[in-house]
Structure formats: C-alpha cells, structure tokens
C-alpha cells in the first residue's frame, strides 16, 4: 500500500506538488493521471525518496522509502527517464543492482527471461530501442519480486505491440495481489488498464475514484441544438429542467435533457428546430474538461503530445 499525506514540493518558486494526499491499494492497477507538468513524476520521485518533500510524507507499507533496508525487495520502480548507463550491458546493469542487496545472479537471469531480454543480455544498453529500454527498466523493477510497483509512463514511446505487452503485464502483476501504481498522461490508455484513477492537475488532486465511475461521469450527454428562436427556446428548456449554455446566436448546448424531451418542448412552444444532435462525450474529453483549467501550457497543437516539453517540475 502506498500512502501520500499532504505532499508538497516546490522547485524554486514553482510549486510542483501541492498538499497532495491519496492512498493506493493492493490487487489492482491504479492509474495516476494528469496533463504534462501536473506533478506526476515529482510525486513519484517523492514517493521513491529521490527528492525530498518540503512538507508531508510518502510511505510504502507504512515506511518511508529511505527506511527500507532492501528497497528493491519492497518496491519496484520504473522511472520515465532512462536510468541506465548506456555503456553497460543489460546483464551487468541488473547484476550491480542485485548485488547491492544480496540478490543472487539466478534472479538476474530470471527477470531477463521474464521481460524477454535473454537474447540481448550481454549487449550494451545504449544500443537498445525504446521498447527494449522499457523492458530493461521493468526487469530492474522486478528484481526483488516487490509487492509494490511504481511505474512512470511505462508505455511512453512504445509501439502497439509493446503497449499491449506492458498493459497485460501490469494487469497480471496486479492480479497476483501486488500494488501497481502507474502514471500516464493518456486517458484512454488508463481507461483500459487501470481499475482506479487518481487524477491530478497543477500538483493538486482533482479526482480519486474507480475508473468505471469516471467513465459514467464522462458519458454525461450534451445535446447541440440549433434554432432561430434560440432565446425563447433557451428559456423554455431551462424552465423544464435543462442546463443550457449559449454557444452563439442560434446555437445552444443542452445538458440534463435528452433529444426527445427537447423536441417535445420545442414543438409545444412552436419553436423552429434546425438541428438536434446528441454529443457523445468521450473519456478523453471528460478528462480534458476536468483538467482543462490545470493544464500548464496549452500549446497551439495537442496538449497530449508525448514529446511536449515538460514543465520545470517534471523535467528534473
């Protein structure tokens, strides 16, 4: 179990994580979602004792990371940035990590098999593709057979096959009863992988709920209505219990009311309808609506570009 209590971290005068509290339970994949720069990586670094929180605590099964005597046997971590010397072979990379806590050579070979890197075990990690690098990172995370896994953007930059592999792998680890905490900025990816979501924006908690609940919330329907009598229609719909937003002179967005009811009300009032279109919200839209206000840098392109530059907080 992972527990964050009132975590706060600032870099210079920039607050990366603000009074963040949550718990992550065992036996399921918990998604850690937020736009780029939301503070996901920072939170994970605080959790793993790499950075020091300015306030608050982060514990794993009740202990701070630094208090763990053989941390690799308790927590496996995959960090977004490569944490491997490119000149060292995969085998030696894992071996030096294993030796630091008395884990045997046999286990090194086991995890290499587990992630499918046996063939390239004696190749230098610098020549690895992104996908192989991620596999090596996962192998390191699994060295000590830990009950808790902390994975920062594990599917970032992977091809579809790699994504599927990581997804299946995470589910399997969770099914074995482990705590799997995985960050991503891709809502759709988390929707198919995670059972529980913790969503943050600008370093603060936005939502902490089961994925299913979030999906229901995202399905809330909006109906687009175009009518030359928009003014009067808007009033009538509001009176009948709809939530109406005016888009322009003759266009309305109506919530809390279905198309049938809107048609009936328009007909009863004698208003002309040019268009009545139900807008099915996607999960991605729900996520974006939720985090819109907290997006750090809204670019001209997509804010969900994996290669978008990170804010100061996450770039470290």
């Amino acid at each position: 179990m992972i527990e964050a209590k009132n975590l706060t971290k600032r870099y210079g005068d920039k607050v990366a994580v603000k009074d963040l509290s949550f718990t992550v339970g065992p036996g399921k994949v918990t998604g850690f979602l937020g736009p780029n720069g939301a503070g996901k990586s920072t939170t994970m670094r605080l959790l793993l004792g790499l950075d020091h929180p300015d306030r608050g605590t982060a514990t794993i099964d009740g202990k701070r990371y630094r208090e763990l005597t053989t941390p690799l046997a308790a927590v496996g971590a995959l960090l977004e940035a490569k944490a491997v010397h490119p000149g060292r072979t995969a085998y030696n990379h894992l071996l030096c990590l294993a030796q630091s806590q008395g884990i045997g050579k046999k286990r090194v070979s086991e995890v290499l098999d587990l992630v499918g890197l046996r063939e390239v075990a004696h190749k230098r990690a610098g020549n690895f593709s992104l996908g192989m690098g991620q596999r090596l990172g996962l192998a390191a995370a699994l060295l000590g057979d830990p009950a808790v896994l902390v994975l920062d953007e594990p599917v970032n930059g992977l091809d579809p096959e790699g994504i599927l592999w990581v997804r299946t792998f995470m589910r399997q680890l969770a099914a074995e009863g482990r705590t799997v905490f995985v960050s991503s900025h891709l809502m759709n990816e988390m929707a198919v992988t995670a059972e529980h979501l913790i969503i943050i924006g600008r370093g603060s908690l936005i939502a902490d709920c089961p994925t299913q609940e979030f999906i229901e919330r995202g399905k809330k329907q909006t109906v687009l209505v175009r009518s030359p009598n928009a003014d009067e229609l808007s009033e009538a719909l509001t009176r009948a219990g709809g939530t109406v937003t005016r888009n322009d002179d003759n266009e309305l967005s109506v919530e809390d009311m279905d198309t049938t009811r809107i048609g009936e009300i328009a007909s009863a009032g004698g208003y002309v309808l040019h268009e009545v279109v139900p807008q099915r919200g996607t999960l991605e839209e729900a996520f974006m609506t939720l985090t819109r206000e907290s997006v750090e840098y809204a670019g001209t392109g997509s804010t969900h570009d994996a290669d978008a530059p990170k804010s100061g907080g996450e770039a470290r």
Binding site: G27, L50, T70, P86, G87, C96, Q99, S100, Q101, P210
Partner: protein, 276 residues
C-alpha cells in the same frame, strides 16, 4: 474488479543489505564500463613508457647536461625516475575519479543506484573504497615497473635501488598518491555532478593552478603552495626531502588526506541533501 489474490507482502526473493554487497555492486559498476579500462590502461601504459622515453632522452644527452643537473639526477635518481612519466599519467586518474560518480548523473544511472540504496552515504563510501583500491593496485604496478625500467636505463650513470633511503617509500607513495587523487576527483565529481566540468576542473587545478601558486611572492606564496592538496600530497612520491621543504613526505600526504576528507564530507553532505 479483480478479486485480490492472497499474496504474502514479503518478497519471495532472498535479499540482504550488507556493505560487502555494496562493494560487489560498485565493483561490477566499475568493471563494466569502458572508461575504467581506458583510464587505468592509459595509466599502466603511459607511466612506464614516458619514464622510458624521458630517461632515455636524459641519458642520451648526458654529456651535454650541465653538471648541476647531473648532480640533481645522481643525488636522487628515484625521484627523477618516478617523476618523469608521472605528470602525463595522473590526468587519467582525475578522469576516472570524476567519471565514476558524474557519469551516473549524466546517464541517469544515479536514480537506479539510489533506488537500490537510498542510504546515499554508504553508496558513496562503497564507491570510494572500490575506486581507491583498484587505482592503488594498478598504480603500484605502474610505479614499480617504471622504477625498474628507469633504474635499469640509468644504471650506467647512477645506481638506483629500492634499498636507497626513501626509495621504496617513494615508489609505494606514488601509488598512495594516485589512490588519494582518485578519491579527491571522486569528491569533486560528486559535488559538481557534471563530467566535463568536473574533469576540466580537477585537471586544471592539479596540473596548472596548484603549480602556479608557487609563483606567488614571499612567505605567503611558499606556505600556500606547500599546503595545497596535490602539491603537498606528491611529497610522498619523492625519495629525498627538498631543502627548505615545509612538510615531510608523510605530513604532506596527511595534508592531501585532510583536503580529500573535507571534500568528501562536503560531497556526502550535498549528496544527502540534494534531490537526485
């Protein structure tokens, strides 16, 4: 929701935290990157070959050498032999010492290291022990080989032997100096955390700045120079004490040790305090 399988929270893989394990881990790290082989190989190769080259030039030009210079050589052949290949080979140790820690920062490996060993001070200690022992072993071999090559080449002019006063101490001392230099560089690397800056800084200091302090005028210059880490430290690699020297060889080495200890303490303090 998947039913939570009953799983013991304890790991099924045997693990144990010992300092010996950390030493093995650091040894694996050191031997598994190319820069180690390059640096130590250069030291082992350059030191004896430059000794041979410079002593060869000296003996070839013996008849044209001023009498006072000949006296310097015959008076303390050990120091002349050890000193000739030394200047060119010690940068290899500076590079290795800085790289051992700074390359972990430049590659991101430091995060994996600290995840495996959140007790950062013991990680630094293990690094220091492994690095200095390996450098000591290679340096001792290089120093002895250089001495014997140089002594053989000078034998027509002057007899140099390990039984000369201070000779054995100077040869072993050269190894000790280089081992201490590796720790000195490690500390700088840990403080600076950047390979290029660290390497440039250490080499500039050792080869350029420290010797230049000699030129400062008066008593101040004399004292300042004598107590500089590497200038004091190298006294241990000289067989006879220069006239008017402010420190004995072991005192000099002690001064170098204190500087290194202070820098390592600063490095340890910063390592613990800074975000990785």
């Amino acid at each position: 929701m998947t039913a939570t399988a009953a799983r013991p929270t304890a790991s099924t893989v045997a693990s144990r935290a010992t300092f010996g394990g950390l030493l093995r881990s650091e040894w694996t790290k050191l031997r598994s990157v190319r820069s180690t082989g390059w640096s130590l190989g250069l030291l082992a190769l350059l030191y004896p070959s430059f000794t041979a080259l410079l002593i060869g030039l000296t003996t070839a030009a013996w008849d044209d050498t001023a009498a006072s210079d000949r006296e310097l050589i015959t008076g303390d052949p050990t120091t002349v032999i050890l000193g000739s290949g030394f200047l060119i080979s010690q940068p290899a140790i500076c590079v290795l010492g800085v790289m051992v820690i700074a390359s972990e920062y430049s590659t991101g490996m430091i995060r994996a290291s600290l995840l495996a060993k959140p007790g950062r001070l013991s990680m630094l200690a293990a690094k220091g022990v492994v690095l200095s022992l390996v450098v000591l072993a290679v340096s001792l071999v290089a120093a002895f080989v250089s001495f014997f090559i140089g002594a053989a080449m000078l034998s027509e002019r002057v007899e140099a032997s390990l039984s000369d006063p201070g000779a054995l101490r100077a040869v072993v001392g050269t190894g000790l100096y280089l081992a201490m230099l590796s720790l000195f560089s490690l500390a700088i690397g840990a403080i600076v955390r950047r390979t290029a800056a660290g390497i440039t800084g250490v080499i500039m200091f050792v080869l350029v700045l420290a010797p230049l302090v000699q030129l400062l005028p008066g008593k101040f210059g004399e004292y300042a120079h004598a107590y500089l880490p590497t200038e004091a430290g190298i006294l241990i690699g000289q067989a006879t004490q220069q006239e008017g020297s402010l420190l004995t060889p072991w005192q000099g080495f002690g001064v170098f040790g204190l500087w290194t200890a202070a820098l390592l303490a600063l490095a340890a303090f910063l390592l613990n305090r800074r975000d990785a």
